[in-house]
Every structure is written in C-alpha cells, then in structure tokens.
C-alpha cells in the first residue's frame, strides 16, 4: 500500500479513439503497401517492355 491511486481504466470513448487510431494506422500501412505494389508493377512492366523492344541479350 503505497497510497497512490490505482491505474485508471480507459473509458469507452478512449478505447474507441484508440481503436480508431489503430485502424487508421493499419489503413495507412495498407495504402503504402498498395502504392509500393503498384510502383513495383510499373517497374516490372517497364523492364519487360524494354527487354522486348530492345532485345536485351539477358532477356532473349
């Protein structure tokens, strides 16, 4: 018994806010992953097309 108050439990509003924040964070990560995937696709398309157009020996 050190006399200090027990840790306060989060209210419903706080829990909801935390959940919403967590969802936003996950959405942002998903968005980032989607953008990176799209960039990778563009990159892949460019490489394949260049290989086809210029007949690079490596891709023959």
């Amino acid at each position: 018994m050190d006399g200090s108050a027990p840790p306060r439990r989060p209210s419903v509003e706080e829990a909801a806010e935390e959940a919403a924040r967590r969802r936003r964070r996950i959405r942002n990560w998903v968005l980032l992953a989607s953008l990176l995937a799209l960039a990778a696709l563009f990159y892949g398309i460019a490489v394949v097309r260049m290989a086809a157009n210029h007949q690079l020996p490596h891709f023959r």
């Binding site: 706080e14 909801a16 967590r22 696709l41 398309i45 460019a46």
Partner: protein, 323 residues
C-alpha cells in the same frame, strides 16, 4: 465502426463500461478487410476474370507471362472498381433489399465517399495498367466497359427500364474481348462471338435470380422484368433467350474458330441450360404467376447458369490448349 460501437458497451444510464469489461473494443481488421473485398463484388469478379483470362488464352500469339498476368489483374481491378462504384450509387436501393441490405455501404461499415474513392482510384489504376502492360485498344475497351457499367447500366438503365440487364449485360461481356485484344491489339470474330455469348447469357442468368428476388426489387422500385411484366412473362423470356444463346454458343465451332472439344461441350451445356429453362417455364404457379415450388426451378437454373458459363469458357480454353 459498427463492430466497435457494438462491442464497447454503454450501460442503460449512459455510463461508460470499462473497455476490458465490455466485449472486445477493437473491431476485427479481418472483418474490415472482408468489407472492402465485398465492395469489389468478388463472385461477379471471379466470373469476369475467368472470361477475360480465357479471351487472353485463346488469342493467337504468345504474350509475355508477366504482362499477361498484369492484363488479367487490370481486368479484375476494373471489375472490382465497377462493383464498388455501383455499390456507392445504389446504396439507397441496396438498403431496401434483403439480399443487399447487409452490404458494407448500406450497412454503414464503409462510408459512401470512401467506397466511391476506392472505386474511382481502382478504375483509373486498372486502365493505366492495361495501357502499360498491353495496348491502347485494350485499355480503351476496359475504360468503356467500366463507363458502360457505371453510367449506362447503373445510373441510366437500372432504375428506368426492364431491359436494364439486357443492354447493361454488355458490360459483363467485354472481358473476353479485352483479354483477346490485350494479346492481339485487334478485334477478331471469335472474341465478338464470346461477347455475344455472354451478352445472351446475362438475361436468363439474371432473370432467374430476379424470379426469386422480385419482392426485393419491387420494394426498392427497380423495374426488373418480373416486377414490370410479371413472373409468367419473365419465365417465357428466360426460355427465349436460352434458345437464342444455344445456337450462338455453337457458332465458334460451326465457323471453324474452335474445335470439337468446345463444340461438343457447348452442345451438351446448351441442352442442359435449355432443360433448366423448360423447367422454369413449367414451374407450377398460381393465378398470379407466383411459383408454387418456392421458385426451385429458377434457383436451379440460376446455379446452372453460373456453371454453364464457367464450363463453356473452360472448354474453349481446353480446346485451344489441346488443339
């Protein structure tokens, strides 16, 4: 958000219940992911992707496998985009229909603006990808298919005429044509026939569904054929469109564009579809045309119509790969 509100509790006096006392406060990420996937109409998407893939496989030429995969991905993204925009626009009538009231937008789990943004971004990305991976013609056809589904079917026809799915069905007929065009950069006789097959398949497929979901459409004020012309006339139209579909499905073999495997499959599947259509026509009904069998034949015909299209296109792909 719905899960969150439901799980973290508030007692009758409005006082907050500690989150660890109430049910789990954090909504499932998987549930939200599932909602975003639902927005893409995954079951429709599967059929669209499959017909697009077959269009690509049967086209003459040897596309780079990576570019071909990107082209199929672009078709999938375009189909998903069309579905998402459709769910955004139809959120008012979706909320009134039992079959669709649980969708993410009318269910309040995804905001209308978010659904629209998702659809538009996907649509633009799909056309861009097709342009880069295939050619301008395939990208243009992909854009036309999205615009057709959104503006001609969803916005213009769906709430105005019982011919909505007849004309609007063209949107679903594009993928095979687009798959072919992605390889050849041209439009040939076979993809036009594939377009015609899906076009003629759509009315019996969709009207079979509308026979057992017509109360939903009536409630929402959507003038589907059973609501406007009656159940008896809808059964007749299903039969007539099936009769028109069968000979068209045989044309690829008759014109020498496909071989025996496809021709025999098309004949057998066509006979099967016709049998189901006759069963729908012979469904016992009361004086108002209401089914006395709880629309069992219509439900069976609807299920078979999905298998029909899958198997018909699979037979065409097998025919080309074996030949």
């Amino acid at each position: 958000m719905r899960g969150m509100i439901a799980s973290a509790g508030v007692d009758r006096a409005g006082a907050a219940i500690p989150a660890d006392v109430a049910a789990p406060a954090v909504p499932s990420v998987l549930a939200e992911l599932n909602d975003w996937i639902t927005l893409l109409k995954p079951r429709v998407l599967l059929l669209v992707v499959f017909t697009g893939l077959v269009g690509l496989l049967v086209a003459p030429g040897h596309p780079d496998p990576f570019l071909a995969a990107v082209a199929v991905l672009a078709i999938a993204m375009a189909a998903g985009a069309s579905g998402a925009i459709n769910m955004w626009y139809d959120r008012d009538i979706d909320a009134l229909m039992r079959r669709t009231s649980g969708r993410p937008v009318p269910g309040g789990r995804i905001g209308a603006e978010a659904a629209l943004s998702f659809g538009v971004v996907l649509a633009i990305a799909s056309v861009l990808l097709m342009l880069l991976a295939a050619n301008a013609l395939a990208a243009a056809l992909l854009a036309v298919s999205i615009l057709f589904y959104v503006f001609v079917y969803t916005v213009w026809l769906k709430r105005r005429t019982p011919q909505n799915i007849v004309i609007g069905g063209a949107a679903g007929a594009f993928p095979a044509l687009i798959g072919w065009t992605a390889v050849t950069d041209s439009v040939g006789a076979l993809p036009v026939l594939l377009f015609a097959i899906v076009f003629l398949w759509t009315p019996p497929h969709f009207w079979s569904l509308s026979l057992f979901a017509h109360e939903d459409y009536r409630r929402a004020g959507v003038p589907m054929l059973p609501v406007v012309a009656g159940l008896r006339e809808t059964r007749r139209q299903i039969f007539l469109y099936t009769l028109a579909l069968v000979p068209v499905s045989l044309l690829p073999t008759a014109l020498g564009l496909a071989g025996f495997v496809y021709g025999a499959s098309a004949l057998l599947l066509g006979l099967g579809f016709t049998w189901y259509a006759i069963e729908v026509l012979r469904d016992p009904e009361d004086s108002f045309g209401t089914s006395l069998s709880r629309n069992a034949p219509a439900k069976a015909a609807f299920r078979f119509s999905i298998y029909y299209l899958f198997l018909l296109f699979a037979a065409l792909a097998a025919d080309r790969l074996l030949g």
